[in-house]
Structures are given as C-alpha cells and as structure tokens.
C-alpha cells in the first residue's frame, strides 16, 4: 500500500499564475481533505471532497478550488497566485465511515515569487 501520494513534491510559480496539485488517497479511502501549512504554523483546512463533491470548506477564497475524480483522487487548483500562497500543501485521506483515521501525504511545497 503506497499510502497517500502527492505530486509534484516542489513547485515554483510566479505571482498571478495558476497551479494544480494532485493527490491520490490511501487504498480503501474515499474522502480527501486539503490543508495549507505556512512555515512555522499549523495546517489550515481548505476543503474536503467526498463522492466527487465539496463537502466542507474552510476560510479560503474562491481562488482555491478542487475536484475529486471517480477513483477518489483529487486536485487542488489555486488561481491568481499571491506571495502569501507560498506554503506546504497537505492532502489527507480517510474512509468516510471512519473519518478520524486521517492519513497525510508528504505534501507539495509551493513557492510563489
């Protein structure tokens, strides 16, 4: 079992550009959550996907959007990048029936210049 995987590992973008991050959940998991972790801070919940729909959302602007595919993998899209979007983006997966069994992926480090 590969666990939760994310790609790419690192990414450098310029202000105003758009970025897409990808996540494959752990085998048997159907729920995917995305978090933003700024340097020196705790992760902040962005949103969660289940059955290809956004189920919960944190306090993030509409520039942050996502998608879940039928195989439960997920994408996080960020438009009109700002310097403040530089962070580690973490994907976590869990089985819907046992939401508390949340496993985190290795993260994507996004740098906006």
């Amino acid at each position: 079992d590969a666990g939760v995987t994310q790609s790419p590992t690192h990414l450098i973008k310029t202000r105003g550009q758009q970025v897409t991050l990808r996540c494959s959940p752990k085998s048997g998991h159907d729920t995917v959550s995305w978090y933003q972790q700024a340097l020196g801070q705790g992760p902040q919940f962005i949103f969660q996907y289940y059955e290809e729909e956004e189920r919960q959302r944190g306090n993030f602007p509409d520039r942050f959007s996502g998608h879940q595919f039928p195989n439960y993998s997920s994408e996080l899209n960020v438009n009109a990048l700002l310097l403040g979007d530089s962070a580690l983006y973490l994907c976590a997966s869990s089985p819907a029936a046992r939401y508390y069994e949340q496993y985190f992926g290795p993260g994507t480090r996004l740098t906006v210049t």
Binding site: Q41, F45, N59, Q102, F104
Partner: protein, 110 residues
C-alpha cells in the same frame, strides 16, 4: 470559529526529564488528535482520542482528553533525543473539518 491553542510553543528539555504539552480548544468536541511532524516532513498520527476521559499511551508519550475542560495533554516521560519534533493537536468539527493548533516545537538535548 473553533480555536485551538497549544502551550508551550517551544520546549527545550534535557534527556530523561518529564514534561507536559497542553492543548485547549474553544468549543465542544469529543474528539481530539495528536500528530507529530519532523522538519520538512508530513504529519504522523500519534493518538486519536474519541471520548471524554480517553487516555492512550505509546512508548514515552501519553495523551489524555477532558472534554468538560476542553483540554488535552500530551505527557512526555523520560524524554529522549528521538522525540525532538513539532507536535500538533487538532480538533474536528462536524466530523470532517479539522482545526489544528500552532504546534509545540520540542527539542530534547542530550
């Protein structure tokens, strides 16, 4: 919005000593989680506490939950250098939305 506060934020301790990290949260929840994060790495789940009075132990770490006081503690017994990391507590709302504290950066000195 649910707030989660940890203290201390930084903890430097000698090997062999005991210490406790505290996690307070602002609204009612019966579920609390502890994670460990090594520098440049992702989050590793340590404990899942799902009811009032829950106590779990793994090696030199023990976590407890008091939902009435909205308080969880992570107790470190006879610390060793390998425990150096950042520890986060988190509380979930509506069974899905996790709120994390700012983390406690632990440095165990030989």
């Amino acid at each position: 919005e649910l707030k989660v506060e940890q203290n201390p934020l930084f903890l430097s301790m000698q090997e062999g000593k005991n210490y406790t990290i505290y996690c307070n949260y602002s609204t009612t929840s019966d579920r609390l989680y502890w994670y460990r994060q090594d520098p440049g790495k992702s989050l590793e789940s340590l404990f899942v506490l799902l009811s009032n009075g829950a106590v779990k132990q793994e090696g030199r770490l023990m976590a407890s939950l008091d939902t009435k006081a909205r308080l969880s503690t992570l107790h470190i017994t006879a610390a060793v250098h390998d425990l150096s990391a950042t520890y986060f507590c988190a509380v979930d709302q509506n069974f899905n939305k996790f709120y994390f504290g700012s983390g406690t950066k632990l440095n165990v000195k030989p």
